[in-house]
C-alpha cells in the first residue's frame, strides 16, 4: 500500500526476528482475508496486532499458529518456514509456542491442574510428582495458587484466562500468542490480565504477540503495534509512533471515529489513501 506507515525497518536491528511474516495471503475459499501482510517481531518484544472486527487479525493469529494455511507468502518462526514444515517439524515447533485463546479453551472435562499438566504429560518424560510441582509453579505465576482441583466451569472469566495462560506457559515457550486477552472481561480484571502479560515479559523475556481491539490494553502492553484493516497493514510502529501518526485510518481507529457510509470499493480505497470521503467527525 503506497501510503502505508511502515516504521518496522526504522525500528529494526541486527537481531534476527523471532517471527517474520512476508507477503502473507490467506483466503477462506474464494474470499481473501489477508492481502499480502508483512512484518517482523523481534525476540523478547511484545507486538500487538490491532484492528476492528473483520480486519483479519484473528485469521492472522490462526495462521501464525498453524490453524489456517496461507495461500501464499511465508511465515518464519524460529528460523523455520511454516509453509514448508513436515508434520514432525510442526509438532516440534508447537512445543516452543504457547497460545491463549479468546475463550480460554480450557478442557471442560479436566480440572485446572490437569489442563496445565496435559502438555507436560504428553511432551515430556517428567515423573508425576515433578509435573505436579510444575503445575503449582505455573498456576502460582498467574495468581491461581490452590486452584488445581477446580473445574474450568467453576472459574470466573478472568480466572479462566489466567489458567489458559498457565497452560500456554506450561512448556516454557519462547513465543506466546494471545487472542483478545481482555475480551469479555470487566476493566479491573482486564487490567489484571495486562499486568500479568507485562510480568511474564519482564520475568521470562518471552516474545509476545497479542491480537486485540482494546486500545487501552494495547498501549499499555505493546512495544510495537501493527494496525490491520480489511486484510491490509495500515501501520506498523511503536506506541508513540502510532500515536503521532496522521494517517487517516490510524487516526480513525485511535480516535474511535465511526465508519462513514461506504457503498463503493473505490470510496474505501480513497479513504485509505487519505482522500475523500472523510470519516464523520
Amino acid at each position: 500500500m503506497a501510503d502505508e506507515l511502515n516504521l518496522a525497518d526504522a525500528h529494526g536491528s541486527a537481531q534476527a526476528p523471532a517471527v517474520s511474516i512476508r507477503n502473507l495471503h490467506v483466503a477462506y475459499g474464494e474470499r481473501e482475508i489477508l492481502h499480502g501482510v508483512s512484518f517482523d517481531v523481534l525476540a523478547g518484544e511484545t507486538v500487538v496486532i490491532l484492528g476492528g472486527s473483520g480486519s483479519g487479525k484473528s485469521t492472522l493469529l490462526r495462521t501464525l499458529v498453524g490453524l489456517e494455511r496461507p495461500t501464499s507468502g511465508d511465515v518464519i518462526i524460529r528460523g523455520k518456514n511454516l509453509c514448508a514444515l513436515s508434520e514432525a517439524e510442526w509438532r516440534d515447533l508447537r512445543e516452543h509456542i504457547g497460545i491463549s485463546f479468546q475463550s480460554g479453551a480450557l478442557f471442560g472435562s479436566m480440572s485446572v491442574g490437569e489442563n496445565v499438566a496435559l502438555p507436560l504429560l504428553e511432551h515430556t518424560k517428567l515423573d508425576p510428582a515433578t509435573i505436579e510441582i510444575m503445575v503449582r509453579l505455573k498456576l502460582n505465576e498467574v495468581g491461581l495458587s490452590g486452584y488445581e482441583d477446580y473445574m474450568p466451569a467453576q472459574l470466573s472469566g478472568g480466572m479462566k484466562k489466567r489458567a489458559a495462560v498457565a497452560r500456554a506457559m506450561a512448556m516454557d515457550p519462547e513465543i506466546l500468542f494471545f487472542d483478545e486477552p481482555s475480551a469479555g472481561l470487566d476493566p479491573i480484571i482486564a487490567a489484571g490480565i495486562d499486568q500479568l502479560l507485562l510480568k511474564l515479559k519482564e520475568a521470562f523475556g518471552i516474545t509476545i504477540i497479542v491480537v486485540t481491539h482494546e486500545l487501552a490494553s494495547a498501549f499499555l502492553i505493546a512495544d510495537r503495534m501493527v494496525l490491520l484493516d480489511k486484510g491490509h497493514i495500515v501501520a506498523v510502529g511503536t506506541t508513540a509512533e502510532l500515536q503521532a501518526s496522521t494517517h487517516p485510518r490510524v487516526r480513525q481507529f485511535l480516535d474511535r471515529v465511526a465508519e462513514p457510509e461506504i457503498s463503493q470499493e473505490i470510496d474505501y480505497l480513497q479513504m485509505l489513501t487519505g482522500e475523500v470521503p472523510r470519516p464523520r467527525q
Binding site: R62, V65, G66, L67, W90, R91, R94, E95, I97, I99, F101, Q102, S103, A105, L106, F107, G108, L118, P119, L121, E122, H123
Partner: protein, 264 residues
C-alpha cells in the same frame, strides 16, 4: 437432467462422507495401536471413562426396553404360531429374532441416542469453544486424544451390551411363555438355549461391533465438522443421530445378507 445431476451429486457426497468415516476410523485405530506400541496410558484412562458412560450408563434403560421388546416379540410370534398349534416354538422365535437382529439393533439405536449424540455434542462444543484448536496447537492429535478412546470404549461395550440385551429379550419373552404358553421360566430358557446355535450369537456380535464403529465415527465426524456457534452444535447432534440410524440400518442389511447368502 437436473434430477439425474442431483442424484449423481448426492451419491458422490454420500461416498465422500463414508470415505471420511473410514479415514477417521482408520486414524483412530492407528492412534490406539501407536499408544499400545509407545506404552502411553492417557487414551486408556479416557477409554475407561467413556466405556463407563457408554456401557454402564445404558444398562437400566437398555434392560427395560429389550425386556419389553422380548415380550412384544413373543406376543407377535404367538399370534401366528397358535394358528398352527405351535405355541411351544415361541421361545425359538424370540431367541432367533433377538439374538440375530433385534438385540444388536435395539442396542445400537439406544446407544446412538445416548452416546452417538453425546459424542457429536461434546466434540461440537469443544470445536465452538476452540478446545480442538487448543489441542492442535499443543501438538496433541484430536483424533488420538478424543476419538480413539471413544472408539475403544464403543468396540468393547457394544458386544457386552448386546449380550445383555439378548438376555433381557429372552427374559421378556419368558413372561409370555410362562403366562400363556405353558412354560416354566427354566423350561423357557432351556428351550431358548436349545433353539440357539453359536452362529446366531456370533452374527449378532459381529453386527454390534460394526454398529459401534459406525456410531463412533459418525458421532465424532459430525462433532469435528461443527461450524461456529451453539446452533451448529444442535445441527451436528441431530445429523449424528439421523445419519447413524440410517447407516446402522444399511450395515445391518449388508451383514444380514452376507450371513444369509454366505456364512448362513
Amino acid at each position: 437432467m437436473a434430477f439425474t445431476e442431483n442424484i449423481g451429486a448426492a451419491t458422490l457426497d454420500g461416498l465422500a462422507y463414508v470415505g471420511g468415516l473410514a479415514r477417521l476410523g482408520f486414524s483412530a485405530a492407528q492412534a490406539v495401536v501407536k499408544d499400545v506400541v509407545e506404552r502411553r496410558t492417557l487414551a486408556y484412562g479416557r477409554a475407561i471413562h467413556q466405556a463407563m458412560a457408554v456401557g454402564i450408563g445404558s444398562l437400566p434403560i437398555l434392560s427395560l426396553i429389550t425386556f419389553f421388546i422380548g415380550t412384544i416379540l413373543a406376543l407377535q410370534s404367538a399370534y401366528e404360531l397358535r394358528k398352527f398349534g405351535a405355541l411351544q416354538y415361541v421361545a425359538d422365535a424370540v431367541a432367533i429374532s433377538v439374538s440375530r437382529e433385534l438385540g444388536p439393533l435395539i442396542t445400537a439405536i439406544l446407544v446412538i441416542g445416548r452416546s452417538g449424540s453425546s459424542f457429536a455434542a461434546e466434540l461440537g462444543t469443544m470445536k465452538v469453544n476452540e478446545e480442538i484448536d487448543a489441542l492442535e496447537t499443543m501438538a496433541l492429535d484430536p483424533v488420538r486424544f478424543l476419538v480413539a478412546p471413544k472408539m475403544l470404549a464403543m468396540l468393547l461395550m457394544m458386544p457386552c451390551l448386546t449380550i445383555w440385551a439378548d438376555f433381557m429379550g429372552f427374559v421378556g419373552g419368558s413372561v409370555f411363555g410362562v403366562a400363556a404358553a405353558g412354560f416354566t421360566f427354566t423350561t423357557y430358557m432351556r428351550a431358548t438355549l436349545d433353539a440357539l446355535v453359536m452362529r446366531d450369537i456370533i452374527t449378532g456380535l459381529i453386527k454390534s461391533v460394526m454398529f459401534g464403529l459406525v456410531i463412533t465415527t459418525v458421532g465424532c465426524q459430525e462433532g469435528l465438522r461443527t461450524g461456529l456457534g451453539a446452533e451448529e452444535v444442535g445441527r451436528s447432534t441431530t445429523a449424528a443421530v439421523v445419519k447413524s440410524i440410517f447407516l446402522v440400518i444399511m450395515v445391518d442389511l449388508v451383514f444380514t445378507a452376507m450371513f444369509y447368502f454366505g456364512i448362513g
